[in-house]
């Protein structure tokens, strides 16, 4: 099919414009975080931070309880991911490799659980946690985050387990492995990429979670970073430099993970479709 010069230019031009639209807010976050206060509060925006400063990052990190909250975020996120991986991988094995009554029902149940409207359930969860006298504790948060990411972990791993050729496992068992050993020595190593990407997606979900921690942990030293960030701007008046530095600190780990993950996710999706 022949295309006129114009026909070749417009897609590229649109792509550049779209790139700028999508990147600009992210760029502006980082740019503002590095700009000296005078360049932020200026009548005409300063598009590029020429004399970069780390002052705003210092303000953000010196904020009360910042490091406690970093610790809290890491604790609940890591706890949720590890537990859901352990529970998820055993369940995924059963769902992918075994035939039993009610299997389809369980899968549909977990699909439904994956779409659970957690945002709307905060009142009930608040009541349960208060009656257990565990408000401002990291334990309920870790447990609820675990269940939040469990259905996704389990269903995704099911796909990965199913993709490991059955013959590998069977030949290991012929060679005298028990089923457990076959699983540990043959399947588990092959699941590494699957475990990796599901745990990263779980990490992202738990790291970003906001409504639940908003209602459960109101004490400053029990909060996690999303709540800190959402109240940062109010607490610091209109200190946009510090607010953007805080947002950058919060977003950076996720942006890095995501760019890294995206390749796998998209190529995985495409591969899967081709094979299926």
């Amino acid at each position: 099919m022949k295309r006129s010069p114009l026909g070749r230019i417009w897609p590229n031009l649109t792509a550049v414009v779209l790139f700028l639209i999508f990147v600009f807010p992210v760029y502006w976050m980082f740019a503002t975080a590095f700009k000296p206060a005078g360049d932020i509060l200026s009548e005409d925006p300063v598009w590029f931070p020429t004399d970069a400063t780390l002052e705003h990052f210092k303000t953000a990190m010196d904020a009360d309880h910042f490091w406690t909250m970093v610790g809290n975020s890491i604790t609940v996120t890591a706890g949720a991911v590890v537990f859901s991986l352990i529970i998820g991988v055993t369940a995924a094995f059963a769902l992918a490799r075994m035939r039993f009554k009610g299997r389809r029902g369980f899968i549909i149940g977990f699909m439904l659980a994956q779409m659970a409207p957690w945002e709307v359930m905060v009142i009930a969860i608040y009541m349960i946690v208060r009656d257990a006298d565990m408000l401002n504790s990291l334990i309920p948060l870790t447990l609820f985050y675990m269940v939040m990411i469990l259905p996704f972990t389990l269903l995704t791993l099911r796909g990965f387990v199913a993709a490991v050729p059955k013959e590998l496992e069977e030949s290991a068992m012929v060679d005298g492995c028990t089923r457990m050993q076959a699983f540990r020595r043959v399947i588990l190593p092959l699941l590494a990429p699957g475990l990796m990407s599901t745990s990263l997606f779980g990490f992202i979900t738990a790291w970003n979670e906001f409504p639940l921690v908003l209602v459960l942990n109101k004490e400053a030293d029990a909060k996690t970073l999303p709540v800190w960030l959402s109240s940062f701007q109010t607490a610091f008046g209109d200190d946009w430099g510090a607010t953007m530095a805080a947002a950058s600190l919060f977003a950076l780990p996720i942006l890095i993970l995501f760019v890294f993950l995206q390749r796998r996710a998209v190529s995985g999706l495409a591969d899967g479709a081709v094979k299926g």
């Binding site: 999508f22 807010p25 009548e43 549909i108 709307v120 359930m121 905060v122 796909g159």
Partner: protein, 329 residues
């Protein structure tokens, strides 16, 4: 939106199911047969127990709370006062609930229509671009997609800030001088406008990238056959591309409806449902009534009604997905 940004597990080769009566591939080889039959249930038990306890129980609790008169006083004194359907009567006969529901529906529809149309166009553009330009656009999309929602909301607050915000500056420069000091969060519509931009900006990448991935799976032969039959570019698009993408678009639309309908974080962190409670959508309304105004019973009733609406949409979505993946289960 957190969540789970890819919904479907990558599909691998599926198992071959032996037809009934055929030799079972793996009988209870070791151990007594009865125990082997229990194995899958034992493996599933932790996941099921955790889900029932931490998801099922809150749902049941929510149901029970919605039949109680539970305000500040009862809350502090740990009183349980059942009041039958009073909360529901009050919610369903009042104006507020219906106004908020209508607002949620319009809000969701506006967002989803824009997301799907623009996302599809961007996805088709990705398919048409050369390698370099595609990578460039992909990087932009992934960055927007990856931004944690609380962070991107904060950035939008800054972009649309009344003083020194970039958006107002640009609008003033291109001739809308009255916008120089515009307070975007002062009125209902302009607040919704900012939320809409935020959600659409952040949701397009999911649709566009996955749609692009889907187009790469369309067999080239179909296009060759179509062009042999004399189909032009447009005809090829409507008779090959679109039919191929339809199931994907259908499923994604429902996914987006579910996500946007419960967009609590964006609406709440941007302006807490304000000004004057005018941008509350259902999840925010339930939260503000329940947690904010401490009418826990009422809030639970609103929450339950919202869950019912979402459940209806979700089950419809699952039916579509299950139909597509029938052979995989």
């Amino acid at each position: 939106m957190t969540v789970q940004k890819t919904e479907r597990p990558p599909s691998g080769p599926t198992e071959v199911q032996t037809p009934d009566g055929g030799p079972r591939p793996r009988g209870p080889r070791r151990g007594p047969g009865r125990l082997a039959g229990l194995t899958p249930y034992l493996l599933l038990a932790p996941a099921i127990v955790a889900t029932l306890l931490l998801l099922g129980w809150p749902l049941v609790t929510n149901g029970m709370l919605s039949f109680q008169n539970l305000n500040m006083r009862q809350f502090i004194l740990h009183l349980t006062e059942w009041n039958g359907f009073d909360n529901y009567k009050e919610v369903l006969t009042g104006e507020d609930f219906w106004r908020v529901t209508g607002r949620s529906v319009v809000f969701t529809a506006a967002n989803v229509v824009l997301i799907m149309i623009l996302g599809t166009l961007v996805g088709l553009l990705l398919a048409r671009l050369g390698r370099k330009m595609r990578t460039l656009l992909m990087v932009g999309l992934v960055l927007a997609w990856a931004m944690p929602v609380v962070a991107s909301t904060t950035v939008y607050q800054w972009l649309f800030a009344q003083r020194f915000g970039v958006v107002n500056w640009v609008l003033a420069k291109i001739g809308f001088e009255s916008m120089a000091d515009h307070d975007w969060l002062a009125t209902q519509y302009s607040t919704f406008f900012v939320v809409l931009l935020l959600i659409v900006w952040q949701s397009i990448p999911f649709v566009a990238i996955n749609l692009y991935a889907a187009t790469t799976t369309i067999p080239k032969e179909l296009y060759e056959a179509a062009s042999l039959d004399g189909a032009g570019a447009w005809k090829q698009f409507t008779s090959v591309t679109m039919p191929y993408l339809r199931p994907f678009l259908y499923a994604t639309t429902f996914l987006e409806i579910i996500w946007v309908f419960k967009a609590f974080v964006q609406v709440f962190t941007l302006n807490e449902g304000g000004p004057d409670r005018l941008t509350e959508i259902l999840p925010v309304y339930a939260y503000i009534e329940g947690m904010g105004n401490q009418h826990f019973g009422m809030g639970a009733a609103i929450a339950l009604l919202t869950i019912v609406i979402l459940l209806a949409i979700t089950s419809y979505y699952l039916r579509i997905v299950l139909k597509q993946e029938e052979d995989e289960l």
